[in-house]
């Protein structure tokens, strides 16, 4: 069947009863939050009450009226009163005397040292402007990139003239946040062999650190929503997406003859999945008898190439599978990191076996078997959560 048309899904929201506080902890597929033990938000100002309202607050709600607290991010104070009022919806956090409200889903805010994947949107005379899913475009100065061949020298006007030969509009780069300006915009650098232009793979955008990236709305809701509600509740509770973690870049050995695949999880929620680039091997296969130092040079010179290597179909298939695993995880509201992605990949292989076993209609099984949605996605999520 070429087309699947589903009846509209009524999101399984428990009816709101004013008198029962624990109705909120029921399954609410749309909120990625674990809400058990959270008191119902109360809009009524609690004056004179020295208590901090715990858990979740909404904008305008008084967090506390006790003057002993200091106000942090996500709050404001009326000039005449001492009560701290929330300005964003989120969780109250308390650091010593500082009270702040952390929004549960927000956009990516760059921090120094973040590994990000970005897309060049504008080329200026001495710098590039890069989209990193942050509110402001990041900049990548010409002086913050490695010159081809690893030569160390000042950037000349000749480099400025051929700035598009390094990175041009639309190119994807992997870079590190070098500094963050006053206005929150980031300055990037690619001064490492790990960084540079991305090739041989696919790009996808999901929710970034603690927040919602450009496409978070695009992967939420609609078909299959509600599928991951139970799984989401079981997960760590910070919502789906990529978070800062131990390893943002790793190599995954895929099944079905796919070989090794590199995965770069940008902290900003931009993900790059590509064929594993074994630099030294690639170089030595093309030119023989190169010295070690020369080899280094050649690896670094290929960072500005826009030509793809030969990627065999098996690898492409497994890359597509990994891409879908990410989508399934995000749709289920599960955090994307090395462990969950590896688990869900294994789970998807297992689901494939299960489907292959009991599928009567062989043809149908063949038809869209690589498309993971609906029931398959649910099963993968279940298996992933079991493995945790």
């Amino acid at each position: 069947m070429a087309i699947t048309i589903l009846p509209p899904v009524v999101e399984d929201v428990a009816p709101y009863h004013a008198d029962s506080d624990d109705s909120m902890s029921g399954a609410d597929s749309d909120s990625d939050v674990e809400m058990s033990g959270v008191s119902r938000p109360n809009k009524k100002p609690r004056t004179g009450d020295g208590k901090i309202s715990s858990g979740i607050v909404t904008p305008g709600e008084i967090v506390t009226a006790d003057p002993k607290w200091m106000r942090g991010h996500g709050t404001y104070m009326n000039p005449l009163s001492t009560s701290i009022i929330a300005t964003v919806a989120g969780k109250v956090q308390q650091t010593n005397k500082l009270l702040s409200v952390h929004p549960l889903r927000a956009r990516y805010i760059p921090e120094i040292g973040d590994l990000v994947v970005g897309r060049i949107v504008e080329v200026q005379s001495k710098r590039w402007k890069v989209d990193v899913a942050a509110p402001l475009l990041a900049q990548l100065p010409l002086s913050a990139i490695n010159l081809p061949g690893g030569i160390l020298r000042r950037r000349t006007s000749a480099d400025e003239l051929q700035i598009r030969t390094f990175f041009s509009e639309g190119d994807l780069v992997v870079a590190e946040v070098q500094s963050v300006h006053q206005d929150g915009s980031a300055s990037l650098h690619t001064r490492s062999l790990k960084y540079g232009k991305l090739r041989n793979g696919v790009f996808l955008a999901v929710t970034g650190t603690g927040g919602s990236g450009a496409s978070s709305s695009s992967v939420k809701g609609g078909v299959g929503s509600g599928s991951g509600s139970s799984a989401a509740a079981a997960s760590s509770g910070t919502g789906g997406g990529v978070v800062r973690s131990r390893r943002q870049v790793w190599t995954h050995t895929t099944a079905n003859g796919g070989g090794e695949v590199d995965i770069i999880l940008g902290v900003n929620g931009y993900i790059w999945i590509s064929k594993h680039a074994d630099g030294a091997e690639a170089v030595s296969s093309t030119t023989e008898n190169v010295s070690i130092t020369r080899m280094e040079e050649m690896v670094s010179s290929s960072i500005y190439s826009s030509q793809n290597d030969d990627v065999p179909p098996q690898t492409r298939r497994e890359i597509a599978r990994l891409t879908q695993c990410v989508r399934v995880l995000v749709q289920g509201g599960v955090r994307v990191d090395e462990d969950t992605l590896t688990d869900s990949y294994e789970a998807s292989l297992q689901v494939d076996l299960e489907v292959g076993d009991d599928d009567e209609e062989e043809e149908y099984g063949q038809e869209g078997r690589e498309y993971l949605e609906g029931a398959k996605a649910r099963r993968i999520l279940e298996l992933t959560m079991q493995r945790k």
Binding site: E122, V123, S168, E169
Partner: protein, 317 residues
Amino acid sequence: MNDRRRVNGPPGGTRPPVYASLLQSGTGADTRAQRQRQPTDLRKIFLKTGLIPSASGSSYLEFEPSASLAAARSNPKSLIPPSSALKLACTVHGPKPLPRSAPFSPNLVLTTHVKYAPFAARKRKGHVRDSSERDLGVHLETALRGAIIAERWPKSGLDITVTILEAEDDRWWGDVPDSHDASWGMMNVLAGCISAASAAIADAHIDCLDLVSGGVAALVSDDSTDSPSALPKLMLDTDPAEHRSIVSACVVAYMPARDEITELWLKGDSSKVSTADGDQRSGHEALIDGAVDAARGAHTVLAEAVRESLQKTLGQS
């Protein structure tokens, strides 16, 4: 969509005059235009480039008036011409730098405008481009973009403006707008626009893969000649005024050197067609092939016109 510059009267407030002679002779079958050409005969095309000195490239295109129109002009019986013949002018401005605000483009950015002169059609057109004119603009852009080698002119823009001085009718003027009220004339206009714009681009010395030319073919059922059950016949370069009922029509923009179609617009029911014995093609395939044949014919004129203007400049220098 609204014309904000002028105060226009309420739409539909006026109606064309009704002539007494019409009421007497019914639908006036005697003055009805009839196709005199063979089904595969094309109308002659007049095409000349370089007529507008201020533009970097320009062309003027005119279709040969149909036989009935020519007869009516030489020996006028009625105030109303039985059909009309396409006349249009095309100007090309550029390549010129893109405005500062525009984002970087590694390719030549093409903009096309198609505008009917207010007096071009039997029914007056407004000064603001209506949806059919915008639609034509999109079709023309698609047709030309495939032919132009855009990466030869990075960061620059090219404006192509087609002004239609006399448009092709959608039907014979005496027929009421009825079941075949689809805008068949627009397809002829588009074919003319494509050929003219192609000549103007060549005149402006923009790199292109081939001179792309437009051609029209239609499936026509003239039930006046045969029994009503007869299958529609394939005709090339149809003048809608000459046919009682056009069942479906197709316009292509075609590059003979590569045997490729850059723009295809087919509409109508092409499921039934009377083809020669042994012809296995389905209706739409026959239609597309017919339109391609018509475009091939237009291409010879196109190439000749471009060559002619080049030889003229060579002779002058």
